[in-house]
């Protein structure tokens, strides 16, 4: 390859981050409407397994993505059943589901472990991929990567510049007022949860059919669901910031692989695990510094910059609905 290492590095980040972006965007959508879907980590794994098996059986990558998306939606609907219809703790249900779907994925997917299977082919976009610099970084990927890139502005626009987005944010902030205004919070929440689950399911498929092709125990995507959840919360419930965090995380992972070559004395397992705590603590630190500012101290440029990175949660996030139809 004649590409500069930097271009290759960035292209690797864009491709590696795609599933995390999809998952973080899906979770942003349901949390904006006030519902936490804590089952992300297990759901991604179950969707990854289903997508791989479906693609293997049918020979069609598209069928795999469809199956993954359906699994994500189905798990989200289970969360909805317990949290919305039965008013159970969202955290409790989500946590149980995250463990259960993970074990279900390992159990059902066991016979398909370590088999060669199909993966999403690269689809260089006709004219854009020839752009100097930008082309190789952004436009020589497979379909799920383009989907992740397109969904970032799309979700931002839908959330902040459409009536639909206004309505779901109203439900997330004040369900009682939204109810008084004439729409049913539970229905809005259920739709957002299902759509968000669909994206999470696609994220799983994007792992097993593109970013880390194949199925096994471990698959390699374990833990990223928790990262996606943290990105949503510490990204201030904003799709663009959550996506930015996903790229930072993918960058840490790619850098880890390179550092491994330069520092052979450090065990490779450390590099595989390191991005996870590093990411979570970066997010906690940003959050912490931003909190300090609220104490009324002087505004330094650093803190003003940090304020751009964080935001407040939807006011009714995680609370069960009191009443509606």
């Amino acid at each position: 390859m004649t590409d500069l290492p930097l271009t290759m590095l960035l292209a690797g980040v864009v491709a590696g981050a795609a599933p995390i972006v999809l998952a973080a965007l899906g979770e942003t959508l349901s949390e904006k409407a006030g519902l936490i879907n804590l089952s992300l980590d297990g759901t991604i794994l179950l969707a990854a397994m289903t997508a791989f098996v479906a693609a293997l059986a049918s020979g069609s990558v598209a069928a795999g993505f469809l199956a993954g998306g359906l699994v994500g939606t189905a798990v989200a609907l289970v969360v909805g059943l317990f949290a919305i219809a039965w008013r159970q703790s969202q955290v409790a249900v989500g946590f149980v589901l995250t463990l259960m779907t993970r074990d279900l994925a390992y159990f059902v997917g066991n016979p398909y472990s370590n088999q060669p299977g199909p993966s999403a082919p690269p689809l260089p976009l006709p004219w854009l991929s020839e752009l100097p610099g930008l082309g190789p970084v952004l436009f020589r990927h497979s379909a799920p990567v383009y989907l992740s890139l397109a969904l970032i502005p799309l979700l931002w626009f839908a959330l902040f510049h459409t009536r639909w987005g206004l309505r779901l944010r109203a439900v997330g902030e004040n369900p009682a007022a939204a109810f008084a205004r004439g729409f049913y919070p539970s229905r809005v929440q259920l739709v957002c949860l299902a759509l968000g689950g669909l994206m999470v399911g696609l994220a799983g498929a994007a792992f097993s059919l593109a970013a880390k092709p194949g199925w096994g125990r471990p698959q390699g995507c374990e833990g990223t669901g928790w990262i996606a959840l943290a990105l949503v919360i510490f990204g201030g419930w904003h799709p663009v910031r959550a996506a930015a965090g996903a790229y930072l995380f993918a960058f840490l992972q790619v850098i880890g692989i390179h550092l491994q070559q330069w520092l052979p004395a450090v065990p490779s397992q450390v590099f595989q695990v390191a991005p996870f705590p590093l990411m979570i603590f970066t997010l906690l630190l940003v959050n912490l510094l931003q909190r300090k500012r609220a104490g009324g101290m002087s505004d330094s440029p650093l803190r003003r910059a940090l304020r751009l990175l964080t935001g407040d949660p939807p006011a009714a996030l995680g609370r069960p609905l009191q009443r509606d139809g």
Binding site: V96, D103, L104, P267
Partner: protein, 351 residues
């Protein structure tokens, strides 16, 4: 407060068992495995012989310890997902003591010191997550997860770095501790009386502390209604930290026993996911201490019984996790159903 689950009703229990059984059979059929044979093998694997039952008891000890600790954090409405990392921190601290050159000189003292260090290490690990929550305004779930990742990274680093086996470092863990430092075991049962005694002590102390002391009352007040507690002069922060300390201490002790008694060394999967499993145990126990030993025994039997499934039926041992999860979901559903019956038209739990 977490909602109470329906208790004592035989019909309801049978219904839940039937629902979970049907679901399990469906999952087994989907995986192409013979359902009855699979369930039979789990039962045999757990209770088939004294030696098999001793493995169940070995898993029961850390499960009970972690679950007891989690009862404290649930009292103040905290989700201590960091329990997994607290187990690891305890295992690291115990290993550090038992690996020291002087440890073999006075084994009983070294073991006592190792277990104390384990409890202290777990409590400290929990305190960091607690500080991130109370001082940093972070969410305790993510602070805990971050600490889990750090602990896991720390264990791997130690095993592949400073504590690696002479020659080749591997996933099989560090060099075993000197045999004089292994805990004595009950003849024929291969379980340490120390571990069993500590687990029973944990249950007793948890019941007494939470139900018979001011500490328990205060934790309940802080968890139930922080605003009201504040008006009564109870500051929430110290009590949250206290609960985290207890939780981490018990979890750390579990990790210390895993290293000192079960594996006699530090291995990457030293926690065996018992921390996460203990969260399910507590949920299934309706967040109460009394049912914890029985529920933990059942979960331990499921987990240990399914270990031989890959060998006899070529199916994955994660089946036990699926059954455990299904049980908790079924019980949650039953709780919701009961709440609905109680308050027709209005629905149940408020927060």
């Amino acid at each position: 407060m977490p909602q109470a689950l329906p208790g004592g009703r035989l019909a309801q229990g049978l219904l839940i068992a039937a629902a979970v059984g049907c679901f399990t059979i469906l999952v087994l059929l989907a995986a192409g495995a013979p359902p009855l044979a699979a369930l039979g093998h789990i039962a045999l694997g757990a209770l088939g012989s004294w030696s098999k039952f001793s493995h169940v008891l070995k898993a029961w000890i850390p499960l009970v310890l972690c679950a007891c600790g989690l009862l404290f954090t649930f009292r103040v409405n905290l989700w201590n997902i960091g329990v997994e990392g607290q187990v690891l921190a305890g295992a690291i601290c115990a290993s550090a003591v038992l690996r020291s050159e002087t440890a073999a000189a006075a084994p009983p003292l070294a073991i006592a010191l190792a277990l104390a260090a384990a409890a202290g290490g777990g409590a400290m690990w929990a305190a960091i997550a607690g500080m991130l929550r109370t001082r940093g305004g972070g969410n305790e779930i993510f602070a805990g997860l971050g600490m889990n990742f750090v602990a896991q990274g720390g264990v791997l680093w130690l095993i592949f770095g400073p504590w690696r086996r002479p020659g080749v470092a591997s996933m099989s863990g560090t060099e075993p501790f000197a045999t004089v430092l292994w805990l004595p075991q009950i003849a024929g049962l291969r379980v340490s009386p120390v571990g069993l005694a500590l687990a029973l002590l944990a249950v007793a102390s948890t019941i007494v502390l939470l139900q018979r002391t001011r500490l328990g009352l205060r934790l309940r007040a802080v968890g139930g209604n922080p605003q009201a507690a504040l008006l009564f002069g109870l500051r929430t922060e110290p009590w949250m930290m206290t609960a985290m300390g207890f939780s981490g201490g018990y979890a750390g002790l579990a990790g210390g026993l895993q290293a000192a008694d079960v594996y006699h060394r530090l291995i990457p999967s030293i926690s065996s996911n018992y921390g996460y499993m203990a969260l399910l145990v507590v949920m299934l126990s309706a967040y109460r201490a009394v049912p914890v030993p029985a529920v933990a025994l059942f979960f331990a039997a499921l987990a240990m019984g399914s270990i031989q499934l890959p060998m006899v039926l070529q199916i994955d041992s994660s089946l036990s996790g699926v059954i455990q999860g299904a049980m908790v979901l079924a019980v949650l559903a039953a709780g919701a159903w009961r709440a609905r019956l109680k308050a027709p038209g209005r629905g149940g739990g408020d927060d």
